[in-house]
Every structure is written in C-alpha cells, then in structure tokens.
C-alpha cells in the first residue's frame, strides 16, 4: 500500500520535549496530545498537517525522554510515518510499540525539502519524491518490528499471540 503526503522537514536531534512538551504529559488523550505536537519548534505543524503527511528529520530523532506520548502525538496528528537519518533507541522502540511506522533513510532525507510531495511504499521499501521525481530505498523494518506494526502495536501483538493467531 502506498502512502502519499507532504514533507514536514526538521533538523538533527529533534527531542521528545519538542515533539510533545512535558507540560502536556498530564493527559494521555491522543487527540489532545496531537494538538500540541511539535509546537515548541513549529507552531504551524499541528494545525496545518494533513492526514498522510510525513515528518522528515535529521539524525537522532526522538532523543531524550521515554514518554510514549511522543509517538502517540505524532500518530494522532495524522502523520503516516517519520523518515529520519537516524532515531534514538527508546523512541524507535516506542514508535513500533504504538504502531507508528518509522524509517531510517539518510539519502532520502538529504533529497527532501519542506513541502515536497512524497509517496512511500512500506512493503517494498521505496520512497518517491514526486516534487523532484527522485526515488529512494528506505531501510526495511526489522521482522519483529514489522509484526508489531502489522498488529497495531505491542499490546495488540501480545493479544493476538495469546489467542494463538
């Protein structure tokens, strides 16, 4: 299945405190968290992001806190995936546990500008920049992580295993 949307481009070391500031952590309501997603570095993101858009960023995306509110906020904001040069490890794990697809793709990140229209085929691992007409390979998701995303996150995965599916 192909996902299509605009790129929201950010730099290196986007940390969990800007993805969702601590002052909003006293709720875990996805819709409420989505309203404040990225607001400390990009006031426009939460109000202007369209369903299916992509967050595209530099290295070490999601560094900092273990708050699962971060991938929840991104997923609830409507973004279909995050594409970055690299991810911090706790965020990486939390994203899959929440069913938020994320891709490490250094070459693609360099070739994407803010607002470019992207088409991502998650199964094939291909990313097309329709604005520049360039095509990129994205790192395939590791098998265990793919199972998590397919199941809709860790807890659904556990539930399906318990049912012996």
């Amino acid at each position: 299945m192909e996902h299509k949307g605009k790129a929201w481009k950010y730099g290196d070391d986007v940390d969990t405190d800007v993805i969702i500031p601590a002052r909003y952590l006293n709720t875990s309501d996805p819709a409420e968290l989505a309203k404040h997603c990225m607001e400390d570095i990009d006031r426009g993101y939460a109000s202007k992001v369209s369903p299916g858009d992509f967050i595209v960023a530099g290295k070490n995306f999601g560094c900092g806190s273990s708050r699962e509110h971060a991938p929840i906020a991104i997923k609830a904001s409507g973004a279909s995936a995050v594409i970055a040069r690299s991810f911090a490890r706790i965020f990486y794990r939390n994203a899959f546990n929440m069913g938020l697809p994320i891709f490490e793709a250094p070459d693609a990140v360099d070739g994407i500008g803010a607002g470019d229209v992207l088409a991502l085929d998650m199964e094939r691992g291909t990313l097309r920049n329709e604005t520049t007409k360039k095509q990129y390979k994205v790192a395939p998701v590791p098998p265990f992580m793919r199972e998590l995303v397919t199941a809709g996150g860790l807890l659904n995965y556990m539930a399906s295993r318990r049912k012996g599916k």
Binding site: A22, G58, C63, L155
Partner: protein
C-alpha cells in the same frame, strides 16, 4: 570471556528469537505517576493482573509541587488526578507506594538505590529514560515506554534486542572543582548526543573506581544523553559499602552469598567491546552547556562557538538555531553569561553528596541580586540527612529556597518552571528547547558550578570562587 553486561543479560534470558531479540526477566520495576496510568488502565481492560507486585515500587515525583503546602493542595487538576490514580493503582494491585507524605518519597531513580532495592546483577526497568542511573550498581537498568510498562506489569518480562557494547575508560583523577557531572558532560561532548545509540556503555577506570556511588549514579544517569539506553559500572567495595544495611538489601547469611556472587560481576580482562573510548579525567575542567543539546558542553573557560566553523551543514543549522533560542552570540565568554534562576536538583544531582558540594560553595555567601535559586533534595531521606548536617541552613542563610522532594524544575510539568526568556544554571540533564518551561534557556552544569552561578549572578568558574 564475557563482559559484565553480557553476564547479567544471559542470566535473565527467558527466550530468544532467531533474530537475536531476547525476552528478559525483570527483577525490579519502578513506576511513577506520569507513564504508568495508561498501563494500568489497559491491563484492567484486558482483564489481566499485575504478575509480581512485590517487584514493584511506586512513587509520585514528576508533577508533585515542591512547595510546603502540597499536602493540603495541588493546584493543577490533571496532576492531582495522576497522583491519585497512582495511589489507587498501587493500592488495588498491592504495590508499595512512597506517597507524598512519606519521608521516603522522592525522585524515582534516587529512592530505589537509597532503600537498597537496586542490587548488582539485577535487571530493572522504569517508564523513564533516566533509569540508566541504576546501572551504577552493576545492574542492567533501562527506560521503557508505557506499552512496555504494561507488558512488564503483566508478564514480568520484556523483549529487548541485545545492544552493542562500549567501554569508556575514565583515566586519572578528577581535578579540584571537577565532579562526576563534569566527567559525563565531557564524555557526551566527545562522543555526541547520538554517539551511544544502540550501545550499552560500561564505565571503568581509576576515575570511576574512585568515585562515590552518588558520582557513579550521576555518570550513568546521563548515558541516555549520549543516546545509550544502558550505562553501568562493575560493583566493588564502594558499591558494597553503600548497600550494606539498606532496608531492602540482603542481610546476614544472604549478604555473604550475595556479595560472593557480586564479586564475579565484572568484565573479564580479555572481553571484547564493539567500541572503546578513553577520557583523561585529570584534563577535564568544570563543564557548562551553551546550546540546546547535552552534547553542547564546553569547559567553563571557553567561549560560545561559531556555528560557521563546523564543516557539516546539518550541525551548522542546529547550532545556529540553538544560538537563536539561547540568545547568545558566537565568541561570548561563557563566564560573561548572566543567569536569572539556579536549580540544584533532579535525578542527576540531588543526592546528599551533591547538596554537600553545592553547600560548600554557598556557605557564607549570598545569592546575587535578582537571582532566584532553588535547592530541591532528591528525596525525603536526602532532605532529612541534609537537615541533620545543617546543609539546609547554609542554603537558606545564603538566600536559596529549600524545597520538598520531586523532579521540580528539571522538566516543566509542575509549578517549578522557567518563564519565557529566563536563563537558568541547572544541575539537571536536558537543555532541550522548552524543557524547563516554554522559552526557558538552560545551561547544564554541576551542583558546585550552579552554586557558584547563584552567588555571582552569572556562569562562573567555581574554582575561582573557591580560591578567591
């Protein structure tokens, strides 16, 4: 020939998948009010129980106010609800809770060790990235997300990929005015905020061996700031002296057999690491961050760097943004930067040794005009000990506020936070944009350095203050 990390890991493997992902048994699980409520709620919806309540300890720390009236009233309704929810979840599941009126309440990463709950060779998790702190005891301790909190509550186990291993040798002795905080800031500056991504880091060498447990906890606490989920130090005599007699530590014959085992927990001499780094502690000066990443640390004698000096355009862009946010110009001497607030506290630096060191600087001096300075002990027990030693009076006579335990101004989700544009000398662990409050500007440093900033009103080389 195995590393200490591998030895502990292998003891805890319940199952292993073909791709090397392991199901690890969890010995100790700590929970706080912010990342646990959804886990309990989901558990209830799934009709499951907490598998091993005795392995858990619950404490409210992130959003508790640190003002004296907190027992009567917590202003923010959402925070109040999270604290009440934690209380109710702990009660119904039979989990020990150190509530806000309990002298043992404090920051989750501080109260585990001081009550003897964190022992060499164990696995420990918490829904908080600074869980790495606990690795100072020679344990595998790491932060997890809330889904994983639920998974551990239900199963007492967690899926983890075996990380690569790095050894960082801290060689030589720390100089005058230099502490564990300066060492770890220098390490992060050297390897970068993503330098440890995918690694477990073992800290070793004379510099670590001569550090107290408090210092080792400070070092391990900030390994996550270098991107590594795990930091650890092999146990030794210092570890054992710290643990002996703590409430939950083994006693009598159990102590003898436990310590005999703990002595085997070190990396064999011929162990291979995926990466090795060395830092000469004798050449580390007191450190200060100038930017918005913990890797932006420099010796206090330095100047704000010029982003255009860096060859990598992505780094240049990040640094330019950081300087705009911090309202700093390249070439500014760090010691010319004035501060509005000073925060001495957090899971990084709110243990008794930290307060003693800061009090040594504050003693007989006064907080500079226009500066607000907070000292927030990491736990009720730290607070009580400090009060027995007269440390509270040293601070209050110097004009510092002496608060109740909690995460406080580390993360801007309780009443202690910076106002937009305020600049803070902080002993916490993250200088991210908005971390201490929207628009707030954070300079990370040691407790001694923060106390020096409080009494001079600007970033100051604590060695000059102590000499002068």
């Amino acid at each position: 020939m195995a590393t200490i990390f591998r030895k502990i890991w292998d003891r805890h493997v319940v199952a292993e998948r073909d791709d090397g992902t392991c199901l690890l048994y969890v010995d100790r699980h700590l929970i706080h009010e912010v990342t646990s409520p959804q886990a309990f709620e989901a558990l209830r919806l799934a009709g499951r129980k907490v598998r091993r309540p005795l392995s858990l300890l619950a404490v409210p720390d992130h959003n508790v106010p640190t003002s004296p009236d907190r027992l009567e009233h917590i202003e923010d309704p959402d925070s109040r609800k999270q604290i009440e929810t934690l209380r109710e979840n702990a009660r119904s599941a039979g989990i020990t809770l150190f509530d806000i009126d309990d002298v043992r309440q404090g920051i989750v990463h501080i109260i585990g060790p001081e009550n003897g709950l964190i022992l060499p060779g164990i696995t420990a998790v918490c829904g908080d990235s600074h869980t790495a702190t606990l690795g100072a005891f020679g344990a595998i301790a790491f932060g997890i997300g809330t889904s994983e909190v639920e998974h551990v509550l239900a199963t007492q186990a967690i899926w983890q990929k075996r990380p690569r291993e790095m050894r960082i040798e801290v060689a030589g002795d720390l100089g005058f005015g230099v502490t564990a905080k300066d060492v770890i800031l220098a390490v992060i500056a050297k390897i970068g905020a993503a330098g440890g991504t995918g690694y477990a880091i073992e800290f070793a060498g004379d510099g670590i061996r001569r550090m107290s447990m408090e210092g080792r906890m400070t070092v391990c606490n900030m390994t996550i700031e270098a991107g590594a989920r795990f930091g650890l130090v092999a146990p030794d005599g210092t570890t054992l002296s710290y643990l002996e007699g703590r409430p939950a530590a083994p006693g009598g014959a159990q102590w003898e057999s436990a310590t005999a085992d703990w002595r085997t927990l070190r990396s064999d001499a011929s162990s291979r690491f995926d990466r090795e780094e060395t830092i000469d502690a004798s050449r580390v000066d007191p450190q200060v961050t100038w930017g918005t990443s913990p890797e932006d640390a420099l010796p206090v004698t330095g100047v704000v760097p010029d982003p255009s000096d860096h060859p990598d355009p992505a780094v240049r862009a990040r640094r330019e943004r950081a300087l705009r946010y911090m309202d700093l110009a390249p070439g500014t001497r760090l010691t010319d930067i004035p501060v509005d607030k000073v925060f001495i506290g957090s899971c990084t630096n709110a243990r008794i040794e930290d307060l003693r060191l800061a009090a040594g600087v504050a003693r007989g001096r006064k907080v500079a005009d226009g500066v607000t300075a907070l000292v927030v002990p990491g736990s009720g027990l730290v607070k009580r000990q400090a009060e027995r030693e007269g440390i509270d009076r040293i601070f209050t006579e110097a004009g510092f506020q002496w608060r109740l335990p909690g995460c406080s101004m580390c993360l801007g989700m309780n009443p202690d936070r910076l106002k937009p544009g305020e600049r803070c000398a902080s002993t916490s662990n993250r200088n991210f944009e908005g971390r201490q409050g929207p628009g707030g500007r954070t300079h990370l440093m040691s407790p001694m350095m923060a106390a020096a900033a409080a009494v001079t009103g600007r970033i100051t080389d604590v060695r000059e203050v102590l000499k002068g």
